[in-house]
Symmetry: C2
Subunit: 290 residues, 2 copies
């Protein structure tokens, strides 16, 4: 097997183009995939494929597959646990007490049951729900079509309002599709428990950015941790940098969790499959968008 590197297939020698059967993609949107006549698979090297589904990027006849990663799901679970717990356990207040040399006010730490809503119940969402439930949070999950998962109240997209009602934390792990774009908006925030916390680990375009600071000002939201943004890296003049209620975490939730030990066998398996005329694993449904 020979491996060639290019962002645009047009940069490759025409003979090479004719031989390519699999395109591995990561980071920037690939160009010129339509110039590869034998292309039988576009294999994303991560979980998100929204950029590959933009019109004209991947020829209609070519299947798209993504990676399923237990390590990535664990890394994102750590991230969500950290940011839920830092709010639940009043870490910011604790850091402030340290600065003012004040021996805390433990009576202000309430022990009431926390309700956490997780949007997206794929491999990552299910792992996150399990980690949150294991330490005693009440967790509910939302997915496009209704799922039945042990120990988890599940809602489908027609039950969005019911799902949101009473949530003190809202965690977005959705794929970015036409249906999910902008789902984190003023209407959504209003329906949460007053002062709820938002954690977005999906895509930047899930959040209607203009709705965030007004929701924090009105008290609908108490804070937001955003790992993803529409423009990354976020420019220094963006209003989210200077708002103490917002924390930007620089697309690090899953950072460095994808290693060759997990990715390589999945790619090898998919190359075998498409070479033999079978559908690849972790096949993307273009209609659903993930």
């Amino acid at each position: 097997m020979i491996v060639h590197r290019a962002t645009d297939a047009a940069d490759l020698d025409p003979k090479v183009r004719k031989a390519i059967i699999v395109a591995l993609v990561w980071g920037r949107t690939p160009r010129g995939l339509n110039l590869l006549p034998r292309l039988a698979l576009v294999q994303a090297m991560g979980a998100g494929v929204d950029r590959l589904l933009a019109p004209g990027v991947v020829p209609e006849a070519v299947p798209i597959a993504r990676i399923s990663s237990k390590h990535q799901a664990m890394a994102i679970s750590e991230y969500v646990l950290l940011h839920v717990l830092r709010q639940h356990r009043m870490l910011q207040e604790t850091l402030n007490w340290q600065r003012s040399r004040q021996w805390s006010a433990p009576h202000s730490l309430e022990r009431a049951k926390r309700v956490i809503g997780v949007m997206g119940l794929g491999e990552i969402g299910r792992t996150v729900c399990g980690a949150l439930a294991a330490i005693g949070f009440e967790v509910r999950g939302l997915s496009r079509s209704k799922k039945t998962l042990e120990g988890l109240k599940c809602f489908d997209s027609s039950e969005l309002d019911e799902f949101l009602h009473g949530c003190q934390h809202l965690v977005c792990l959705l794929p970015l599709t036409r249906e999910t774009e902008g789902v984190l908006n003023a209407r959504t925030f209003e329906r949460l428990s007053t002062g709820a916390f938002l954690i977005n680990v999906g895509r930047g375009a899930h959040l209607v950015e203009a709705d965030l600071i007004p929701a924090l000002d009105s008290g609908d939201l108490g804070g937001a941790t955003l790992d993803v943004m529409i423009d990354e890296p976020v420019p220094p003049d963006h209003a989210f940098w200077s708002d103490p209620r917002i924390l930007l975490t620089g697309h690090t939730a899953a950072a460095n969790s994808l290693g060759p030990d997990e990715i390589a066998p999945q790619i090898a398996e998919n190359i075998k499959r498409v070479s033999a005329g079978f559908a690849p694993c972790c096949f993307v449904d273009r209609k659903k968008g993930y």
Copy 2:
């Protein structure tokens, strides 16, 4: 049943003293327990009993019992997870990046396996170990006598050095006894992985305070989160307040986790037991000190 309140039994009417069979204790060290001729049980309303074991506090013949609380074990697990994760996921750096409007440096987030050493394998220690293992940390436990617990490398007190070697986080959940006093000292810190993080949720006297800042300066330790201190509340002129590598959390790890729904049935059961001449549940072994 009649309930009387006093810190010193000497303040009670002599007739009342003669009638008392159970002393419930919480917070300040009780006085005058030797003035209660029928006293059959000293019931601590929490997990720690070190103050009750000081000479002369509880007459030798009177059994001491403590509370076993699942809610408290869960609250402490949340605390330990938060403080392990805030270091593991570089929260302080992330907060600094936010302040300097810098879109992170995800390459600096290493994904190597973290080894966490938990000292103390009672109900709380076992719950903490389970929570840490569930999100993928490598956990090892230390207890006075060797235990066998599923999925956990267990060490006894004679294997302290082996236990410490390679730990990147050290979590102290020990009871305070003559053997464990001062266990968090320079010699212990030297044996950990360089730049390890210390989390003390045991008692203040587990830590040799004078050894902490030198260990941070030498690099043996990278940081410390201390929930308990010898003098609580810690006076404003204490050096730990102004050291950015130290976070004092004001004895909040288990705050408000003990509720009457858990405590009352255990107390009622123990009153029944000692009234009928049986030993109480959660009996304290005075020789072991817990």
